[in-house]
């Protein structure tokens, strides 16, 4: 295999030198991608006009023998997010904690990424706002809201990440302020804002993107606030399981 490469390399060098008067070819460096994960090995490279088979422009792979894990695309249905009080009464009640790294609801108050209580969404990073039953932030998760479709948002912009702060949540609360719109009279609907993608850095330092689809049980396409039960989140997410890779 290796021999073949050297042969190819020599051959292409000959061609390259023969065609040195051919201005249309601009050579660049390509790196071997032995495990086929799209990341190249910086130790093995060659110059070429276009990527030779098995070579890529990227040189970030620190282990070219093992391919990257695939992206995880999941839908979470009917995540309950109950709340006590409200409507003028003090708000309380446990947040529903979700761990993106395991893709499941958790009761571990240390190891969670994102948590839900009615329309309030918090992340496990930063400081608590101190509302009743609000968990303290043990982890170093962070988040921001990107604008676009799920397909449009293909990487996390690490410069935009914020954590929950004393006077503002990373996913801000309030109608048209963060992830939802509250229509008020006469429909009283909570509608996730279309085109708002929650980009998350998990407690384990991985990246994920979330699109909330519905706030109502069984995600009806035309919810009726008087018929459909609220405080049930349905969301799609894409999780990047590999370390230090911010694309998804």
């Amino acid at each position: 295999m290796k021999k073949g490469f050297y042969l190819l390399l020599t051959f292409s060098l000959i061609i390259a030198s023969c065609g040195s008067d051919d201005d249309s070819c601009a050579e660049s460096l390509f790196f071997e991608d032995a495990d086929g994960d799209g990341l190249g090995n910086s130790a093995t490279s060659q110059l070429a006009c276009s990527a030779p088979e098995g070579f890529v422009t990227n040189s970030d792979d620190n282990d070219d023998t093992q391919a990257l894990a695939n992206l995880i695309s999941e839908t979470t249905n009917n995540l309950p997010a109950p709340q006590e009080g409200g409507q003028g009464q003090p708000i309380s009640g446990d947040f529903t904690l979700f761990d993106l790294d395991t893709g499941a609801i958790t009761t571990n108050t240390d190891d969670w990424d994102i948590a839900f209580r009615a329309t309030t969404i918090i992340i496990n990073g930063g400081i608590s706002q101190g509302t009743t039953d609000e968990p303290s932030r043990i982890g170093d998760a962070a988040a921001y809201i990107a604008t676009g479709t799920m397909a449009d948002i293909t990487s996390a912009d690490t410069s935009l990440f914020v954590q929950d702060a004393a006077d503002a949540l990373a996913i801000p609360s309030g109608s048209d302020n963060g992830w939802y719109n509250y229509s008020g009279s006469p429909l009283f609907l909570i509608t996730p804002l279309p085109g708002k993608i929650l980009v998350i850095k998990t407690t384990e330092g991985k990246y994920a993107k979330i699109e909330i689809l519905s706030y109502y049980k069984d995600a009806p396409t035309s919810p009726d606030a008087f018929v459909n039960e609220g405080r049930y989140f349905t969301f799609n997410y894409v999780y990047q399981p590999n370390n230090n890779i911010s694309t998804f």
Binding site: G85, G86, Q87, G88, Q89, P90, I91, A118, T120, I127, S128, Q129, G130, T131, T147, G148, T149, M150, A165, A166, D167, S173, G174, S175, D176, N177, Y180, N181, S183, S185, P186, L187, L189, T191, P192, L193, P194, G195, K196, I197, E211, L213, S214, A219, T221, S222, F226, T234, N236
Partner: protein
Amino acid sequence: MNKFIVILLFFCFNIYCQKNTNPKENDSLKAEKLEEVILTATRTERQLSSIPLPVTLISGSTIKKSGSVRIDDILAEQTGLILATDESGFEGIQIQGIDSDYTLILMDGVPLVGRSSGNFDLSRLTVGNIKQIEVVKGPTSSLYGSEALAGVINIITEKPKNEKLTGRASYRIGSFTAQDMNLSLQQKKGKIRYALFGNRFSRDKYVLEPNDSDRSITVNPIENYTLNGKFYYDINNNIKLSASGRYFDQLQNSGFSFTDTDGDGQEIIVNAEGEALERDLNTLLKLDQNWSEKFNTTYEFYYTNYIAEDISRDTETSDIVFNNLFDQKLLRAEIRGNNIIKGMGTITTGVGYQYDFLDRTLFENEVSFNSQYVYTQFDMIPLENLNIIIGVRFDNHSEYSNQVSPKFAFNYKITDQLSIKGSTGYGFKAPDFRQLYLNFTNPSVGYSVLGYKTVPKELQLLFDQGQLAFGDNLTPDQGQARVNELIATFDNDLEAESSIGYNIGLNYRQSKKLILDINFFRNDFRNLIDTFVLARKTNGQNVFSYQNFDEIYTEGIEFSATYNIFENLEISGGYQLLYAFNKDIKKQVENGELFVRDENLTSIVLSKDDHYGFFNRSRHNGNLKVFWDIKKWDLNVNARAIYRSKYGLGDTNGNGTFDTFDDDAVVVDGFATLNIAASKKLFKKFEIQAGADNILNYQNINIPGNPGTRGYVRVNYQF
């Protein structure tokens, strides 16, 4: 303020100088009086066809022939005037795609007050003693100041003119036991003239969608009275004094039920009943003085008081569950003068003082405004076929930034039949009391709304009470710094909402046989006031306040045609094409930055084709009318059809605009209403009329003011 006094002095001096101008007869002006004359556009009598602004004149005889009872009935039938019901069920007239909040309503030239959510309820006004209704479209703040952005509707009442005591009594009864009674008297006796008018209107309740208990709406019975008196005293030929008063009283029963929790935490249904009272008083004292044929002045003193009170009690315990009082007063003194300069035109100048007062349940204290204003307008004829109007008004206000409202308009007669006219002007609407002084916390949900002026005090208070959620980790000093930071953003005055309007059109007039009008309009709005989240409360709710935000525009074409097939058969039609957009949202759609959800609830980019724009705006509006006078039978028959295309009342998919993906619940599909009426004179003094409104029986749960087909008969007796 000093500047204002200087202007005032200049104005007085101006009057003084003009007093000495040489009197001389103006023949052309006299001739014009024979034709349809309109006052509102220039504050002087002007022949309808020559006015350089887009105007609509509705004559008293059209109103009578149409069988209208309240002002909104007849306005809704005019081209470019749309009776729009907003998402809260309030009705108002939309002009050039602009909400009724931005239209000034005048009666005999002085403003009417009292609005619900910004909408002026025109059904408060009876048509019983209306001489004509004048509508000027486009910004007219250069003459009328605040609120005249979309236009001005001026309702002109009848004036006494006959020596003999004459009067009219009429009775009308129709569906839903709608009864309308009118009695009017008028006489001229030497130097004294007077006119008296009384109206009573009542209607039973009606139910929309009675078979669907979840959605059905009961519109409660209504009963109201209007009294109107006008007295004129001609001190001499040149000095005329007049006093007029109007009183309106309305009672509407209300009933509703809601779910509450009792002392044991059990859910109970509370039934409440009560009444909504409305009272409106208008008094106007006016002195007209002709110094010469060339120069006259008018002194006006106006006072109006509008009171609305809603009280509802629990039917079992008689406890008051809802009580809302709204008491608005307005006092205005104005002096204005018209000076005709031979060969040049007319200069109109006015100066005034206005005091506004409001006491409202949701306000902590009674609040009041003071304002002074001065305006001047030069209506000139530099060339034989060219008329130009230049005007400007300055408003000095105690609570918001001063306003300078200029205006320019021209009319050029290309031929005897064809003329071109154009105008541009600035209009503004002062922040209202609610936007400045509201201090409201919803008792059941817990959010707070603070008027702009109340923020510094009330936000501090909320912070001191520990109601603001700045988090546990903030020290009190850091919290105070954050509060100060927020309060500092309220240092500057709230800006008035403003617009610049452009109108350009052609008018073709072949005597009265054929009249064609086309007008292009565009209105650019700035500084629209909207609510925003100011801070978060510890109860999880928000504190809202008001700021200047949005920029929107409306543009379109209005076309109208009147054709007299033969002398007594008139066909007319009108059409308005309208585009109304929020500029930011439109840009987002163009850039592919606004989203909707597909059937899988996944976000997709909203395409331009799927975007309708502003709520409650129909792209197409039209009307078609036939009026036929059959002289030999003393009979008039007419039919009027009004069409409004699809519109959306709100947004259900969270992108803040109306698009094809919004839920059907907020969509009103295109609809037409057809109204017919016939009236016949009997024995000289009697007239009977029969008719039916909304003969196609169009109904929609989102338009509670329309109960479906309504028939009626009316008897009118002239004496």
